[in-house]
Each structure stands twice: as structure tokens, then as C-alpha cells.
């Protein structure tokens, strides 16, 4: 037992040392209270709807979300637009379809079953339009970045003038949360950029939070049912464990051995 504690102590020293060195290199991400964290975490519906608005009006001109369909917008656990709203949203996009009976491709208004329309035909076209940098697909973006939601939230607000001594090339911007501080996406958000349908004041901070919430849902559309099921599953397991514990005690009481 004593040895065990000695080892724990040594390990904590090492890990403590590591945390210190990390803190020196990394910047602290901006913090905000996310409604979807914690045992009962749920998405804030209106934040998701506002976030979708920011995505369509700002991000979607460069960033695709190829794994999402318009029907998802009306599904439970998401922004929960009404079905008619989601249909209207889908219909506002032109979708390429075909070939028809004459063998020609044609465009038609979007349907619920369509995937989100992509801003560019392909990766090459996206790169060509963005100075060689490919604006990443945002469907699972928050899961594909080390800091997750905090990182995205901070990055959107992390633009500032480069410190003295750092010169930036054409089309490169300084962001204090970006890995290496150089980012090819210009600052996109400014106060009042979008006009929220629900009247919320569209500050940069508000828009960052809303769009990040939306991205979290996009990456984890089943997060709410996961949390609900998880809580039930764990409570069930704990009760069963207690029952089995007492059964075990009872069975082992037949012989004179501790269990």
C-alpha cells in the first residue's frame, strides 16, 4: 500500500510538471457556459436557430456541411424548426438534380431529404476561390479540433493586429487562438452583422456562441438522447449493482469467508 502511494506521488509530480509546461505554451481559451454540457445537458433551441442563421448568412458562403440534410433542422433534439419552416428553408436553395428523361441535368428547389447545398463544386474549386486554403467542411468540425467548442468559440473572437515583428503575407490573418497564429480566414464577424429573427442583439460574442452551439449539434445530432439514455442507463446499473451486492453478501454468508 505504501509503495502504491509513493508511485501515485511520483506520477502526480510528473503530470504536474507537464501541466506547467503546457500552460506556458498554450493560450487559455475563452470560456462561456454551454447549455449542452453536464449530465442533463441540452441544446438551447433558440441558440441553435440563431446559429443556423449565422451559418447560412455568413459561414456557408465558403464552408460546406455535407453530412447534414434539411430534414435534420426539423428533427427532435436539434434546432426544431417546424416542418413547414424546414421545407421553406430547403426550398430557398437551388439543388442540382438529374439526369432527366432527356439526359440533362437540371435545378429544382431543395427538399427536406436533400443534403445541405455545398458552396463549391469540389475541393479544388474551394481552394481556387480561397487563395489555396480549403475551408474545412463544418459537419464534424468541433470534434475534429483539440479544444472543441471552446476553441471554435475563441477563434471566432481571436482576431487582432499582429504583434510587432510578425509580418503577414497577403491573405493571411493573425489570430491568437489559431495553431501557429496564422489563419487564412479573415475576421468574419462584426457587431450587428446579422439581424436575428428573435430580436437578440447580434454582438460578435453572441454570434460566436450561437454558431458554435449550432456546430456542436451538427457534429453530435443525438447528444440530447445520448445524455438522457446515459442517465437512465447509469441509474439502472447502480441500482442493479446494489441489488447484486446484497445477493452476493447473502450467498457468501453460507461460508465463513469475507467477500
Amino acid at each position: 500500500m505504501k509503495n502504491f502511494y509513493t508511485i501515485l506521488f511520483l506520477l502526480s509530480l510528473i503530470f504536474g510538471f507537464q501541466l506547467n509546461t503546457n500552460a506556458a505554451e498554450k493560450v487559455e481559451y475563452l470560456k462561456t457556459d454551454w447549455s449542452f454540457k453536464g449530465l442533463f445537458g441540452k441544446f438551447d433551441r433558440s441558440a441553435l436557430q440563431r446559429g443556423y442563421q449565422v451559418y447560412t448568412e455568413v459561414c456557408s458562403s465558403c464552408h460546406s456541411m455535407k453530412y447534414l440534410s434539411y430534414r435534420n433542422l426539423a428533427e427532435k433534439g436539434g434546432p426544431e424548426f417546424t416542418e413547414s419552416q424546414a421545407k421553406a428553408i430547403a426550398a430557398s436553395f437551388e439543388v442540382k438534380d438529374g439526369p432527366n428523361e432527356d439526359g440533362d441535368m437540371f435545378t429544382r428547389p431543395g427538399k427536406l431529404s436533400d443534403k445541405f447545398v455545398m458552396p463549391y463544386e469540389n475541393v479544388k474549386a474551394a481552394q481556387a476561390a480561397n487563395g489555396g486554403a480549403y475551408p474545412p467542411d463544418m459537419s464534424v468540425l468541433v470534434k475534429a479540433r483539440g479544444g472543441g467548442v471552446d476553441y471554435i468559440y475563441s477563434l471566432l473572437q481571436g482576431y487582432e493586429d499582429p504583434p510587432v515583428g510578425i509580418t503577414l503575407d497577403e491573405g493571411v490573418y493573425y489570430n491568437k487562438y489559431m495553431y501557429g497564429n496564422k489563419i487564412k480566414m479573415a475576421n468574419q464577424l462584426s457587431d450587428g452583422l446579422v439581424e436575428y429573427a428573435d430580436g437578440t442583439n447580434a454582438t460578435v460574442e453572441q454570434m460566436s456562441k450561437d454558431v458554435t452551439t449550432f456546430l456542436m449539434w451538427a457534429a453530435e445530432p443525438h447528444l440530447e438522447s445520448r445524455h438522457q439514455m446515459g442517465f437512465k442507463a447509469i441509474v439502472y446499473l447502480i441500482i442493479l449493482t446494489i441489488l447484486v451486492y446484497f445477493s452476493m453478501k447473502r450467498i457468501w454468508s453460507r461460508i465463513e469467508t469475507k467477500v
Partner: protein
């Protein structure tokens, strides 16, 4: 297999059992005499069986929806996560299940090391266990490649490239493994095939592992040979079944917490970026359970010798029954071995830790010292310890130190309670 003859009561049972003695087998399994002093570290065998079955069942469902093609694998995983009913649950159980499996197997292995379960007459059980462990690593590595994310692709590239270290034929072997000149679609399809095959090989070996165990019977915390059945043993059912069940439920609570609340914490964020052969990630790291061996690999400056060191680190375990020269099994009665055991545990944890860090500066130095110590433990310390160590007196039976006024009583009891 069974020590005593079993006679089914029903006529049909007898008729059937004479032709295929399944009832005799069932009787052997329920009556199997188990030492009654087994502690909770012994429940991990059952937990591991549960892990294997969970992986096979969830894996089967995933395979129904997954598409093993370089252009579609990543999309099909997202399809499972979004559109397949409870697909997210199945996939998160499978992905976290791999980590839980390794967590349990490491506890199982280190339990064996502490109580000397690998010693005669249990060498075959131990060696089968090492083969299972090797296959688990292969299965886990190939499974990690299947989602075709950035870490999948680059992990596969790094690990398969290790074979190129073999003189003369190395490059040829790598091309053969890849089915081309880089990790690509042929690599993915063969990895999928093997990832599907290996669990069933493991299942077969698990049967052998348990069969070999049932010949000498379980080792136990005081590591002495016991007569069975005797007052030192209890029948497997219901005593051990309920105890294993209780431990399994505790394990499942931890498992469920990972699956439902932090399903991605054990994975790497880069694996949610689709594989891109033109973009190399900043740090290529394997899954946590392979990190100690990754650290050993990188601590040797020469590629070939690094591979040799990494493989030796695993294969040396197979020779353990002969490297450990002590006649006493349990560390409870080996005061010196007990110290070295905990140092080894710390050493492996340190190796795992530096394996996740960049191989440079202080980290590289620590990795080298820890690697050297790892081999020192098995090649020098263990063999010498067997001759030099002054062991404590061991009790004659499990019940003896408690029942009678034996002179060993005080020592045996104190030692047992002071450990873990």
C-alpha cells in the same frame, strides 16, 4: 476434464450426454472448485470475456452499415452516427469498448505479475494469454484504421512502415502489406477483413485459455497449491458467478460513463478529419493502450533496432515463467519483488506517458531510461531476485493461518491485509 463422473437425471439427458457430453461440461463449469480467497483483481477474466463479446456483437452490427472503401469509409461512419437507428450508441460502445478491453487486460496482466500466476504449472495459460494480447493489439490497430480519418491513415502508414526496417526484403514486405505503393484502398479492405477475422481467433484462444486454466485450477492471492475440492475452495456457481457479476456491473458503470458522457475523450480529434495523403498531422500518436511500446520504439535511434526492441518488449513476457526463478508465486511473500513490481508498474506508466509526447529533449531521455529499466527488470532483476531474495514463510493452506494457531498466522494475515 471433469474430476468426477456426472450422471444426468433424465433419460433424454443421459441419452444425449452419452453421445455429446455437453451436460458433463456444464456440470464441470458450475462445480469448478475455485479458491475462496480470490480478491477482486481476479474478476477481470470474466470482465474480459464480456468485453470480447461486446466487441463482437457491436462489431457485427457496425459491419452491416460500414463500407470498406477509401472514398466511402469516412462517410459511412458518419452515416452510422447520424442516420442508423442507435448507430451512435453502437459505434461509441465499440470504440470505447476497445479502450475498456485494454484497461481490463492490463489489470489482468498486472494481477498475474503480482501473484505469480504465470509460474508452473500455468505457463501455457500465460503464453496463450500473451498471444491473445498480441492479437488484441493487431485487431485494435486495424480497427482504428477503418474510420479512415487522419490518425487512421497516418497511424497505418507509420506502423506498416516499420516492416521496411527488415534488411533486404523489408521494402517488398511493406508493398505487399499495402497492396500498392502507399496506404490506400487495398490496405483498407484487407485491414477490414483481418479486423473481422481476429476477434474469432481470440475467441478460440480464450476457450483454450480457460481450458488450460481448468487443468491446474486458479492461482490465488497467497499463491500456494491447494487441494480441490476442499474447504479452501468454493464451487464456481453461485459463489464466483455472483462475485464476477458484481464486479462486472461496477465495470459497466465506468464503461457507460465513457460511452454516454465523454465518448470521444479517448480518441484523437484528428480522426474526425477525413484521411488526406497530402497532409501529415503535427503529431502522429497511437491509441493510449499502445503508447508504452511506441515509446520503446522511438527511444532507439536505429529503426531496425527500435522495431526489435518494441517486439522484444512484448515477446519477453512469453519467457517470463523461466526468467522469474523464484519458487514462491505470490508477491505477498516476496518483500523485495513487491518493491520491484511497483517500480515496473510506474515504469510502464511513464513509458506510456512519454509515448504521447514528442520524442525530443527530456522526454526522449526519460523514454530511454524507462526502456532500459523495462528490460533490466525482466532480464536481470527477476532472475537474480529468485536466488537472492529472502522470502517470508508461506501458509500451508488458505484456511490454515486463520483456523489454527500456526506460527505463520500473524505474518500471513498482516501481509495480506497490507497489500492492495
Amino acid at each position: 476434464m471433469s474430476d468426477q463422473e456426472y450422471n444426468p437425471k433424465s433419460k433424454f439427458g443421459k441419452w444425449f450426454n452419452d453421445r455429446l457430453p455437453l451436460l458433463t461440461l456444464a456440470n464441470h463449469l458450475t462445480d469448478y472448485p475455485t479458491p475462496k480467497n480470490l480478491n477482486y483483481w481476479w474478476t477481470f477474466g470474466g470482465i474480459l470475456t464480456f468485453c470480447l463479446i461486446t466487441q463482437i456483437v457491436t462489431g457485427l452490427v457496425l459491419a452491416m452499415h460500414y463500407i470498406a472503401h477509401a472514398d466511402m469509409a469516412f462517410d459511412s461512419v458518419e452515416h452510422i452516427m447520424r442516420d442508423v437507428n442507435y448507430g451512435w450508441l453502437i459505434r461509441y460502445i465499440h470504440a470505447n469498448g476497445a479502450s475498456m478491453f485494454f484497461l481490463a487486460v492490463y489489470i489482468h496482466i498486472f494481477r498475474s505479475l503480482f501473484y505469480g500466476s504465470y509460474k508452473a504449472p500455468r505457463e501455457i495459460i500465460w503464453i496463450i494469454g500473451i498471444v491473445i494480447y498480441l492479437l488484441m493489439m493487431a485487431a485494435a490497430f486495424m480497427g482504428y484504421v477503418l474510420p479512415w480519418g487522419q490518425m487512421s491513415f497516418w497511424g497505418a502508414t507509420v506502423i506498416t512502415n516499420l516492416f521496411s526496417a527488415i534488411p533486404l526484403v523489408g521494402e517488398g514486405i511493406v508493398t505487399w502489406l499495402w497492396g500498392g505503393y502507399s496506404v490506400d484502398n487495398p490496405t483498407l479492405t484487407r485491414f477490414f477483413t483481418l479486423h473481422y477475422l481476429i476477434p474469432f481467433l481470440i475467441l478460440g484462444l480464450v476457450v483454450l485459455h480457460i481450458w488450460a486454466l481448468h487443468v491446474p485450477g486458479n492461482n490465488n492471492p497467497i499463491g500456494i497449491d491447494i487441494r480441490k475440492p476442499s474447504k479452501d475452495t468454493v464451487p464456481f456457481h453461485p459463489y464466483i458467478v455472483i462475485k464476477d457479476g458484481f464486479a462486472l456491473l461496477m465495470f459497466m458503470i465506468v464503461f457507460a460513463f465513457f460511452v454516454f458522457y465523454t465518448p470521444n475523450i479517448l480518441g484523437h480529434a484528428d480522426n474526425y478529419i477525413e484521411a488526406d495523403p497530402l497532409v501529415t498531422p503535427a503529431h502522429i500518436v497511437p491509441e493510449w493502450y499502445l503508447l508504452p511500446f511506441y515509446a520503446i520504439l522511438r527511444s532507439v535511434p536505429d529503426k531496425l533496432l527500435g522495431v526489435v526492441a518494441m517486439l522484444s518488449a512484448i515477446f519477453i513476457l512469453a519467457a517470463l515463467p523461466w526468467l522469474d526463478t523464484s519458487k514462491i508465486r505470490s508477491a505477498v511473500f516476496r518483500p523485495l519483488y513487491r518493491q520491484f513490481y511497483w517500480i515496473l508498474v510506474a515504469d510502464v506508466l511513464i513509458l506510456g506517458y512519454v509515448g504521447a509526447m514528442p520524442a525530443e529533449g527530456l522526454y526522449l531521455l526519460i523514454a530511454r531510461v524507462a526502456t532500459a529499466y523495462y528490460f533490466l527488470h525482466f532480464l536481470v532483476i527477476l532472475p537474480v531476485l529468485g536466488f537472492k531474495e529472502k522470502t517470508l514463510p508461506i501458509p500451508l493452506s488458505i484456511t490454515e493461518p486463520i483456523m489454527s494457531g500456526s506460527p505463520n498466522l500473524a505474518t500471513a494475515k498482516n501481509k495480506e491485509s497490507s497489500n492492495i
